[in-house]
């Protein structure tokens, strides 16, 4: 029964993490399904083109007031009334020139805006589709439609376009420039200026569509802010360029100038404030007028808004409205996923306006039906009926516009809004679950040998409190329905989940106030706090992979110091040597890295042969087989120190682990052979079959043969029975590590599985990590010995030490004992070729068990590859409590009482560490959601943190529920009633 309570405790922490992640993610991560359909409808959805060519100039971060004729007062001398050409021309030629205040959807970052501008859709953190890893888009877009119409596109400027549209532009008219160097204010602009005029002047008209993307204004904003004299020079330069462009423009070319987003007061962007989302949009037709001023236009089609601080309202549109407008003006179909509405002024001729709006609405309805029929269609449940009502009612210009705008609003709620309430609720749950897990740790560690009773008494209490909270949450949701505006987007299930977790967490905190444990904060705990606090800084988050080995080696220093003070030279030697082995392994692991984009120029890729060649480096391949052969042998050395490499260990290591690890190594060697085509392409299919089966055998053999053997006899001891003086003498060899050694076997089954899913250099890392782990276990065990000897010396009867472990002599695990393993886990994650970024997912591993992508196997192997290291080292955490602990002879009823409590403490410590990291990453992501780098750094780190904590929780849970429980049950069964007092051999 006690075991069940322990599991309930650990499961509660896991579920609390899950609840927090679920609610926070619903408020934070914006996802949308990207449909791959392409608009093609012959002539039923296109208009007669008014222009055959277009020049689209983007001035990055050009806020509306920079070009506005009525800037806010007092006007800034540095950025107002400087770029004046657009409003001068608009005043002079109102039928040819149109200036709008356009709303750019947040996140206001260039990549997202480029996607929005060309697909007409709303930006989200992640477009779920076939191309999770790449940033290029497969959706229908303006570029796709241009290509289908056989139009030639030219490009110059910000190279972000190249990652989105790698092959949409004519190679001889493509001039991309690095966009990352914010310090550089002029290179990109000068380059655009150099390349654009020859193309404009070219009489052969080589391009039909030209994009020029200037970056200078954005960079000046980031570096100096908008109120700096350099901004004035920059805008002046832009104005001059525009004047020259207008001069060179022929009558058949449409000119569009826009800012992809705005900038806030300090010149940054990324968030959803009005200054960031308000961008300039200017459309100019040098030839024919686009609007017939005499024609009436329904006023409710035109929206106006006042820019903050300005006195006059101005015509306002959505930025994505440009896409349908531009498509129809150029005689192209509107891209399939578009949600924008044509800008009415530009079609104010004859019956054009109604036709344009009808095509537009039909396209949106087509998209809506397809999305409704897709697996994500459920997202539309709430709004579907109203939207269909609006669709059937629409048959005038105003009706179509109304329908379009309703769809846009519905999609926006669905995809593109942070929900501050949900994020706040999620953060509260993270804090409560963290405090509660710490409270559980404090409660259990102070209850010591009474922990069983402690759990029996308190578990029902907090579970009942949880149920109460769930019910309260349900009733609160009914009340909240009365105030929909405040608590928008929070569903009944959210309230119930929140109530359940929150109140049970509070109950735990109330039962066992965690404040009591604060004085025990040690150096290692400071490392944990620093680690979590690092996620508030982009630099520290980017360089986390270098910080972790620094912390991991630092975390071993208190043990080394303890080692010097050990009373015997044997213990001194053991502690110092194993600590050094740990540190060396950690240091060697950190040689392996895949650098993330932000680390470039300070980082050298070693996990692959080079940064552009994702094959393993040759030394890693050469060392693969020796490592695979040595690893099981080295693992077996560690239990052999305590003579506990007997029993099934003799069969398991050579017959199950070695072939299994070898199979995993073989797979990746063959994969390498395949990539360099050593034997030519003819051999490729044969090699593919061999390696598929190598992986399958490796994983299957470890899991089924190893698992079955371990489950049948989880014991690594030799028991001999001798007849001596009419007394039966039982000799047990390996008794001193009766729990630890079989758990190591259990653990290494999963090591073998994850080994196979890890690429060759990662396998070396895992091997080093294993050695570091086992060395650390020896360190902790020796330090515990030092502690118990010191305690014995301090008592009145030091000779009691010779009597073997007694009830009071048990040295309990401390919280900081888990920290080196926690750091080792995340270190292994980074050094096995991962980063906290989406592009670093190793898609290769999807083909481990099957030659083509097959669900669920491909998904499982990718998950195992990505989160396996974290899972594996979390699974190892019970070893801290089990290693070199023998069953207690004086307590025949429950010989494992101490061990059980320590296992629970170790499990909770590990979960607490990762819970702290989760809190750090989520606060980082929530607080810095307006940060320029949120989608590149903070949000991916939050996702890695969330998945990481779940992997760790599952590892710990599996270890305790299956590994520890099975071993304890079996050991208890074997040794119960057996008097092993004097005969037991524990080798120190």
């Amino acid at each position: 029964m006690a075991a069940a309570y322990r599991l309930v405790t650990i499961t509660w922490i896991f579920l609390a993490h899950l609840a927090g992640i679920y609610i926070f993610t619903r408020g934070f991560l914006l996802m949308r399904l990207s449909l791959t359909d392409i608009s093609s409808c012959g002539s039923n959805c296109i208009l007669e083109p008014t222009h055959s060519r277009a020049v689209v100039l983007i001035i990055d971060a050009l806020r509306f007031d920079f070009v506005s004729p009525n800037p806010p007062s007092p006007a800034s001398p540095h950025h107002h009334n400087i770029l004046t050409l657009p409003h001068k021309l608009t005043k002079r030629y109102p039928a040819h020139s149109f200036l709008f205040d356009s709303h750019a959807d947040p996140p206001t970052t260039t990549l997202q805006r480029i996607k929005g501008l060309t697909t007409g859709s709303l930006p989200t953190f992640m477009d779920i589709g076939n191309n999770l890893g790449a940033s290029s888009i497969t959706e229908d877009s303006l570029m796709v439609q241009l290509q289908r119409a056989g139009k030639k596109a030219a490009f110059m400027g910000d190279d972000t376009w190249m990652s989105v549209f790698p092959d949409s532009f004519q190679p001889n008219m493509t001039y991309p420039y690095d966009s990352f160097n914010v310090e550089d204010l002029h290179t990109v602009d000068e380059a655009v200026i150099t390349h654009i005029f020859p193309l404009l002047e070219d009489e052969t008209k080589p391009f039909d569509f030209l994009i020029g993307h200037f970056l200078g204004v954005d960079h000046v904003g980031h570096r100096f802010g908008p109120d700096h004299p350099i901004m004035k020079d920059k805008l002046q330069q832009m104005n001059d360029v525009l004047e020259r462009v207008v001069e060179k423009l022929d009558d058949d070319t449409l000119l569009v100038l826009l800012g992809d987003h705005g900038m806030d007061r300090s010149g940054d962007h990324g968030g959803d404030s009005i200054l960031e989302t308000s961008a300039a949009l200017w459309i100019y037709s040098k030839g024919d007028p686009l609007t017939d001023i005499r024609m009436p236009i329904p006023q409710d089609l035109l929206k106006y808004r006042i820019f903050p601080g300005a006195s006059v309202e101005h015509r306002a549109v959505q930025q994505i409205d440009l896409l349908p407008t531009l498509s129809l003006l150029l005689g192209l179909p509107i891209p399939f996923n578009n949600l924008g509405t044509v800008i009415p002024e530009l079609f104010r001729r004859g019956d054009l306006l109604e036709r344009a709006l009808r095509y537009n609405a039909e396209q949106i309805q087509g998209f809506l039906s397809t999305y409704r029929a897709s697996p994500s269609g459920g997202e539309l449940d709430d709004s579907w009926d109203n939207l269909q009502k609006a669709w059937s009612a629409a048959n005038t210009a105003a009706g179509f516009t109304d329908f379009n705008r309703q769809v846009l609003a519905a999609c926006r709620t669905m995809w593109a809004q942070f929900n501050a309430t949900l994020m706040g609720m999620g953060l509260v749950l993270f804090v409560v679950s963290l405090a509660a897990s710490w409270a559980l740790y404090v409660g259990l560690s102070s209850a010591k040998s009474n922990s069983k009773e402690w759990l029996q008494r308190n578990t029902p209490l907090y579970l009942m409190a949880g149920c109460g909270g769930g019910v309260a949450g349900f009733f609160f949701s009914l009340v909240a329905k009365l105030f929909p505006s405040i608590l928008e987007g929070v569903a009944t299930t959210d309230y119930i989940i929140f109530g359940l977790t929150f109140s049970s967490g509070l109950a735990i905190i109330y039962i066992s106030p965690p404040i009591a444990g604060l004085p025990s904060i040690s150096f290692s705990s400071i490392l944990m706090i620093l680690h979590a606090a690092a996620f508030l800084s982009n630099s520290f988050t980017v360089w986390e992979d270098s910080i972790i080995p620094f912390f991991a080696v630092s975390s071993i220093i208190p043990y080394v110091l303890k080692g010097f003070t050990a009373p015997t030279s044997r213990l001194q030697y053991r502690i110092v040597c194993f600590s050094v082995i740990f540190a060396i392994c950690v240091r060697l692991m950190s040689i392996s890295t895949v650098c993330r984009e932000e680390q470039q120029s300070f980082c050298h890729v070693t996990f692959y042969a080079s940064s552009s060649l994702t094959v393993p480096p040759t030394p890693a391949v050469v060392m693969a087989v020796p490592t695979a052969l040595a690893l099981p042998w080295i693992i077996k050395l560690y239990p052999s120190i305590s003579l506990s490499d007997k029993g099934i260990a003799r069969i398991y290591y050579p017959i199950i682990l070695t072939p299994s690890i070898l199979g995993g190594a073989l797979y990746w060697i063959l994969e390498w052979v395949d990539t360099i085509s050593a034997f030519g392409d003819d051999w490729s299919p044969t090699i593919r079959i061999i390696r598929t089966w190598a992986a399958r055998t490796s994983i299957g053999w470890a899991l089924f043969a190893g698992g079955a053997l371990w489950f049948a006899i989880p014991l690594c001891v030799n028991i001999t029975v001798k007849q001596l003086n009419n007394k039966k003498q039982v000799q047990v060899i390996g008794y001193g590590n009766a729990f630890g050694s079989p758990y190591l076997i259990f653990w290494s089954i999963f090591l073998a599985i994850i080994y196979a899913t890890t690429q060759a250099p990662g396998q070396l890392v895992l091997a080093l990590g294993t050695v570091a782990l086992l060395s650390y276990l020896e360190v902790v065990d020796s330090v515990r010995d030092v502690q118990s000897m010191t305690n014995a010396f301090a008592t009145a009867t030091p000779s009691a030490i010779l009597n073997g472990p007694s009830r009071n002599a048990h040295i309990s695990l401390t919280f900081s004992d888990t920290i080196p393993i926690a750091l080792l886990a995340i270190h292994a994650f980074y050094t096995t070729g991962h980063q906290s970024t989406i592009p670093s997912i190793q898609w290769k591993t999807a083909f481990l068990l099957t030659p083509t992508v097959q669900y669920p196997w491909s998904a499982i192997t990718v998950f195992l590859n990505s989160l396996g290291p974290l899972f594996l080292f979390a699974l190892a955490v019970p070893l801290l409590a089990l290693w070199n602990q023998s069953p207690q002879q004086h307590n025949p009823q429950d010989p494992a009482a101490n061990v059980k409590n320590d296992v629970t403490l170790a499990a909770i410590s590990m979960m607490t560490y990762y819970g702290t990291l989760l809190l750090g990453t989520s606060i980082g992501a929530a607080v810095l959601r307006r940060h320029l780098m949120v989608w590149k750094i903070f949000a991916p780190r939050f996702m890695a943190g969330a998945l990481g904590v779940l992997a760790v929780d599952l590892g710990v849970l599996l270890g305790v529920a299956v590994g520890v429980n099975r071993i304890l049950w079996y050991v208890q069964k074997v040794f119960k009633g057996m008097n092993v007092g004097e005969e037991a051999k524990k080798k120190h």
């Binding site: 310090e183 800084s537 982009n538 630099s539 520290f540 980017v542 360089w543 270098s546 910080i547 080995p549 620094f550 080696v553 630092s554 110091l561 303890k562 080692g563 010097f564 003070t565 050094v580 540190a583 060396i584 950690v586 240091r587 950190s590 040689i591």
Partner: protein
Amino acid sequence: MRKPMSSYLWAVGMQTSLLAFCALYLPRSSVLQEITFLDGEEPISEALSPLEALTRRPTLTLLALCLGTLSLQTWWSDWLRRWWIDSIIEGAEEVKRREKKFLTRKRLLALTRVYGALILVSLGVYLVLILLGAPIRSLAVKTYLLALLISILTFLPPAYLFGPPSFRGDSASLVKRWTWVRLFAELSSRNPIERALVYPAVGTVIGSWLGIIAIPLDWDRPWQAWPLTPAYGAIIGYILSSITALTANSIDLVQSQNTNTTELPDKPRQ
């Protein structure tokens, strides 16, 4: 007649201000700026800002720091040693004098042995820095100079006082070894002199550890170059903890004077 506390105060004040001078002015001295063979850069004739002069060539800065602290710490160790000798010898004035003479006899030889041990220890610290994540294949000279600086600050004074730890089996070596363990592994100091050794050593290590934190920030400042921040962190840590030791010793003295038990050992005559 003798003012032990004021002379200790004077010595710490002297040492910390000289250390600050070493850190802030020595690397900028015109002689050092002339040196061109390190860091492979031509000397710049135009005037540099103080920060530029300190950070332009980290190897040179570190070298200057090492040379400066080496001479400073040698003087400080000698001062401490005389204080220590005064504190341990007892008896009549004449006996004391003879004893003292005997103990301070082979100072040069002792110093040579300490410098020899210093090189070994600095290599050990170098390996520890590598383990903590210092680059293996590049910047080796810079890393070694940091290791040397840390060793000079932490290892030199106790080694000069007690002699470097030895691994021989005789009982004198054993006692010496356990003194080292007690001071630097258990971090327990029993008298003002030991405190004046242990606190700055711990402060140096903490200071340089914290100094690492500034490096990954994306501020692109020249002072973020390896290993300037841990080196300056070490010196700042040393100065602060030296002053802390002084404060703790003063508080102890006041307390002991109140209870009238022991006295702060005398400072030798200059």
